[in-house]
């Protein structure tokens, strides 16, 4: 099976204009992924499915991930003048990284018994620009999974045949799996409250927890 770099090269050759970036993976699992740009994602997906050498005809898993705004600390080598001589010094620089929602697809090939190839699509932000192209016309298995990502994260998939809530009821508001989701105040009796539940108990009953 070819490596991800070779795959990226062939993808860029076959689908003009696509921007693919390899996202490394820190764990010993060794499964790096390919970040695609939203404009050419559908074309890239069709290439991955139809190409004779890849035949990635089976989309196993479509996941949504929430990455809120955060500051990233990076170690950067900077040329600085130290004690009169120019040296390379490691400096810790903080960079603000905007928040986005991500959809990760795991692709396998049933015809060639190979895989996985992991592709990622990112939205622009977590507020209003949360649209992503739907890959359901390419792999039908994404149908329910993209509905679930819409339901729990709020990502709008353009081109999905039937985008509506799947696990929560249709009148539900808000998106439960986001990191900043606030649960409604439906506190009931809790005999052994800990941490947040204890806080909620105290807020709910002005005089203190029930237990």
């Amino acid at each position: 099976m070819q490596s991800l770099e070779q795959l990226k090269a062939r993808l860029e050759a076959a689908v003009p204009g696509v921007r693919a970036e390899i996202v490394p993976n820190g764990s010993p699992a060794g499964q790096p992924s390919l970040l695609l740009d939203n404009g050419h994602a559908r074309a890239a997906a069709e290439f991955l499915r139809d190409d004779a050498e890849l035949r990635l005809d089976y989309c196993s898993n479509a996941t949504g991930v929430d990455w809120p705004e955060t500051t990233v600390k990076e170690k950067v080598k900077v040329k600085k003048v130290v004690d009169g001589a120019e040296k390379e010094v490691e400096e810790v620089r903080e960079r603000k990284r905007g928040g986005y929602l991500e959809a990760v697809y795991h692709l396998y090939s049933m015809a060639r018994k190979e895989g996985p190839v992991i592709i990622r699509l990112r939205t622009e932000n977590r507020g209003d620009r949360v649209a992503l192209p739907s890959l359901t016309p390419v792999w039908r298995s994404c149908e329910f999974q993209e509905r679930e990502i819409f339901d729990l994260y709020g990502v709008v998939f353009q081109g999905h045949p039937d985008l509506r809530r799947i696990l929560m009821w249709p009148e539900f508001r808000d998106y439960p799996m986001r990191k900043d989701y606030v649960e409604p105040d439906d506190y009931e009796y809790e005999p052994t409250p800990h941490d947040e539940v204890l806080e909620r108990a105290r807020r709910h009953y002005a005089g203190g927890p029930a237990a």
Binding site: Y189, T192, H194, D195, A211
Partner: protein, 202 residues
């Protein structure tokens, strides 16, 4: 011939029916509550606290380290430490719990609290006839309901209890031997001054 399949199926059913009168394999009903299945050693339902000896307060093995409280997945354990220390089976002074509540309606019987306890203080019980009509406090068990003697633990999980008892005996005898060696006087090897040692061992 059409219908042969159904007749063959009916023969199977008849065989099962007739067989259930004389073959134990075919009649597997246990008429609970008059008959009960024999208890299985490893079975687990809800946790209980082990105490040595006869007195639940003095012999309780739990030292309120709250590791089980932190590791419990549904967070059904609630511990309040009692700051007055008590000696444990080795003579070391340990904390003990003032309040140890388990909400057994939430408990998942996963046994993680048992796995992570460093003091063999909490073990899995096998009782399942736990229903009560008190909706709010009936299934919230405190130390009084949870503490059970070591003999009970022996009856339930013979292998494990015997191992733990053997290990605790060994630890006890080792620590007693070490204390006796200290009190009898220092050996003439590298050591702190004798007067300071005798004072500490007393």
């Amino acid at each position: 011939m059409n219908g042969v399949g159904i007749i063959k199926g009916l023969i199977e059913t008849a065989r099962n029916l007739a067989g259930s009168y004389h073959d134990k394999e075919r009649l597997t009903t246990v008429r609970y509550p008059e008959e009960t299945l024999p208890p299985v050693e490893n079975a687990r339902t809800i946790p209980f606290l082990v105490y040595d000896g006869g007195d639940a307060a003095a012999g309780l093995r739990c030292t309120a380290c709250t590791i089980c409280e932190k590791e419990c997945p549904p967070q059904c354990i609630y511990i309040v430490k009692d700051m007055a220390k008590k000696p444990d089976y080795l003579g070391k002074m340990q904390l003990h719990p003032k309040v140890f509540d388990i909400d057994i309606s939430v408990c998942m019987s996963c046994g993680i609290c048992v796995e992570v306890c460093p003091f063999d203080a909490i073990k899995m019980d096998q009782v399942f006839e736990l229903s009560t009509d008190d909706r709010f406090g009936g299934l919230l068990w405190g130390i009084k309901q949870l503490a059970k003697p070591n003999d009970y633990f022996q009856k339930l999980h013979r292998t494990e209890a015997s191992e733990i008892d053997a290990r605790r005996e060994e630890d006890k005898s080792k620590s007693q031997a070490a204390a006796a060696a200290k009190a009898a006087g220092p050996a003439p090897a590298a050591k702190p001054p004798p007067s300071a040692n005798k004072g500490a061992a007393a």
